[in-house]
């Protein structure tokens, strides 16, 4: 069952497009191998706990989670493009909708909704992030530890493989008391191809 946080009318992506992408996400999700949700969520929690124990400093844990996500994203993008039969996006808004409605749905089983600021920034709201299940942050980590920072890394890694350099940060989190999880993605640069021997 899908739950929509809210549906925002966007200048360049229509409601029909959103519905089409949602159904695309559902089909892709149906074709994926699935793993037990509790197992996945608990394993992730164990990873975070172990990182905190090993590294200690919260800021470094955040960076490490993001770096891990980045490596995952670099490989994930090919699976995403291949399984969901994605064609080129015309603008960054389309990319945003694709990530939220197809990508997140395919890999996490939940859809995000997009609130866009302008052509180079968007906010993605996740109302029921499964990674937050069973999690309670102790007071010394509330507001400091970005528990799902891996997701930020995944988005950054995936987009970098399609020549979009972005910055991805967690702006709101359910674990800190907010109403939903929110990730802010801002486009920094569209990368150009660099070839091995260009001066033949």
């Amino acid at each position: 069952s899908q739950s929509f946080c809210a549906v925002y009318v966007m200048a360049s992506v229509s409601i029909q497009d959103q519905k089409r992408l949602s159904s695309k996400g559902d089909t892709a999700f149906a074709n994926m191998e699935k793993v037990n949700c509790e197992l996945f969520v608990m394993t992730y929690g164990a990873i975070v706990i172990q990182l905190v124990k090993d590294i200690g400093d919260v800021a470094k844990v955040n960076t490490r989670l993001e770096a891990m996500g980045y490596n995952i994203g670099m490989r994930l993008i090919d699976e995403f493009l291949s399984k969901a039969q994605i064609k080129r996006c015309k603008n960054f808004q389309e990319t945003a909708e694709l990530i939220a409605r197809v990508g997140l749905k395919m890999f996490l089983g939940v859809e995000g909704s997009i609130k866009s600021k302008d052509d180079t920034t968007f906010y993605m709201d996740l109302s029921n992030n499964p990674l937050n299940d069973f999690v309670e942050l102790p007071p010394q980590f509330k507001g400091k530890l970005n528990y799902c920072n891996l997701l930020c890394g995944v988005i950054r890694g995936s987009l970098e493989m399609v020549q979009l350099r972005v910055q991805c940060v967690y702006t709101k989190s359910v674990l800190n008391g907010d109403d939903c999880d929110q990730i802010k993605v801002s486009l920094e640069e569209v990368l150009e191809d660099v070839f091995a021997d260009d001066d033949d």
Binding site: I77, E79, M161
Partner: protein, 145 residues
């Protein structure tokens, strides 16, 4: 029938190649692969230059009098290229399946570093099985009558 399959990264490095029909060694193997990448890249640039809507013009098949080159480029810059004989029909499905094989046996392989030459045994076996299976079917239809 299929002569060979080549997989190029975004930077032009040939990550994987499978030759089903050996050439007479006219030129160096490495040069041959570089030429092919050069052709693909040049054609892509040319198609942008020539078309009315540059974003949507994608090269799919390049034909000459003796061979056909089927291309599929992913958004991540991977180029899947198959050299085949002239009577081979469109190989879009095959290329898309080869991409799926890449995802399964290369992208998901923790021992493989993205962007380097592929030495994954399983991938080689699966690709060979899929492509040589296809070749058999084409030949069979020629003799079916």
């Amino acid at each position: 029938m299929i002569y060979g399959f080549y997989l190029y990264s975004r930077t032009g490095l040939c990550l994987f190649h499978l030759e089903l029909v050996k050439y007479n060694g006219l030129s160096d193997q490495e040069e041959h692969k570089r030429f092919l990448f050069g052709l693909l890249r040049t054609f892509k640039n040319f198609s942008h230059f020539v078309s009315h809507e540059p974003q949507d013009n994608i090269v799919r098949v390049i034909s000459t009098t003796s061979f056909r080159l089927h291309v599929c480029m992913t958004a991540t810059g991977l180029r899947f290229a198959i050299l085949s004989s002239l009577e081979t029909p469109r190989l879009d499905q095959t290329l898309s399946y080869l991409y799926q094989l890449y995802v399964e046996y290369v992208a998901k392989n923790p021992l493989y570093t993205i962007g380097t030459v592929i030495h994954c045994d399983r991938y080689y076996k699966e690709v060979k099985r899929h492509l040589t299976g296809e070749v058999y079917n084409f030949n069979a239809s020629k003799y079916a009558k």
